[in-house]
Amino acid sequence: MDKSKNLRETAKTLLSEGAVKSIIGYKKGRFPFYLQPAIIKDPEEAASLVFTPLSRQNLVSFIKKAAKPVGVVVKGCDLRSLVDLLQEHQIGRGDVRIIGVTCAGVLKGDALEHDPRFKPAEIKDVVEDDGRIKVITSSGEFEMPEDSMMEKCRSCSVHAPYLYDDLIGGGEPGKAPGPPAYPGVEEIEKMTPGEKRAFWLDMFSRCIRCNACRQACPLCFCEECVMDEAKPRWVTAEVDPVENLFAHLIRIYHSAGRCVSCGECERACPVGIPLSLLYNKAAKEVNELFGYNPGVDPEAQPAMLTYRLEDPECKSCLGGRNL
């Protein structure tokens, strides 16, 4: 089934029937290896919508400012951030039309540019063909290997959305996802404290504090970020690895119990800091400590806003132990 075609038809109907005022989807630009977000209001514009293995962006990030009711094209993974926004009262269920798309996985940001088999300039199109990703170039067709997909796609359990109003791409509706695999986290955990510090300070020496991670995050909906606050000034203008790291820890802590590991932050980061490791670590702990998997149940209370009497005691603290 041609998902793009299916999507265009659905979008056109929704807009022309007035079911939604706007639709957030993907469109092609000048370069065949990039897709851009498209926010359309006119049924005629629906013709520009596409869904391909380059549909990387999590479009939920654009939902807050869009004209409501808004239709939003979501992959199973993006859906989870939408569920979180519902949980956190950032949008009413009635204001959003969930256009779910089954997805076999999307490509990493630099997968096409670093492929030795062809040059970016040769790329003509990128298509999904029966669950495989194919690149059509002037020098032939190439199938992309699995490790060219985003990390989250390789352990994906939500190929089909589990909550939607329209399902694009057919197939069975998905099931509510279990906790993700938190790839890479364990390797860091195994390091010594000194190695961890060195690793992160090295990574954050690259950070230019552009805040793209924050801006691209669908869950960073605060009217004004604490990192921008002056009273108190949590983060100073000094861009050094330590300050960068601590500035980041604020976001990571704030993501705990909310972050659905969509990977937008890491994707948006221009300098390639493996941010997902940090967010996945927080998600992993929330899941292990409190059994909570965010972005699944729109009615559930986010993990940090509730508690259970039998929550584990902080490890290495005394708890009830006598000295």
Partner: protein, 154 residues
């Protein structure tokens, strides 16, 4: 800091061995009262803890803990009423969740678990309070200074 103070400080530093800086957030109902009782009971403990009195362990914003580490704390202690004993009935349960996660994150970036403690200490547990401070101080002395600034390259 004035020049004279600075000079004096370096002199002092040379005179004494390195002393860890520990920031302690104490809930006013239980742990701060416990610390007061340690005083009235004349229980001596290391002078390394700098106490910030908060109404409840649930008031402690993890950002404050991060700030303490950022500004050079070698350890941070948050102490509140025992579970079930919170003056506000549930603040410490929220604190436990928040700080449990924070602790894991700190560990993940290389801050040893001994440097961050969440403790339950009631108004009557003066001895326990003193013991906790003594233990943390000892552990941190063993670990040495955290000061991430100096650890830029490992």
């Amino acid at each position: 800091m004035s020049k004279a103070e600075e000079k004096e400080k370096t002199e002092n530093a040379e005179k004494h061995e390195w002393e860890p800086k520990i920031v302690g957030f104490l809930c006013r109902w239980c742990s701060y009262a416990g610390a007061d009782l340690a005083g009235s009971s004349r229980i001596e403990y290391p002078p390394n803890v700098r106490v910030i009195r908060v109404p409840c362990s649930g008031r402690v914003n993890p950002l404050h803990v991060l700030r303490a580490f950022r500004k050079g704390a070698d350890a941070v202690l948050v102490a509140g009423c025992h579970p079930g004993d919170c003056h506000y009935s549930e603040g410490n349960y929220y604190a436990r969740r928040r700080l449990d996660v924070l602790k894991e994150l700190l560990e993940f970036i290389g801050i040893e678990p001994e440097r961050f403690r969440l403790e339950w200490c009631s108004a009557s547990e003066a001895r326990r309070f003193a013991d906790v401070i003594t233990e943390v101080t000892g552990q941190v002395k063993k670990l040495g200074p955290l000061n991430p600034k100096e650890n830029k390259n490992g």
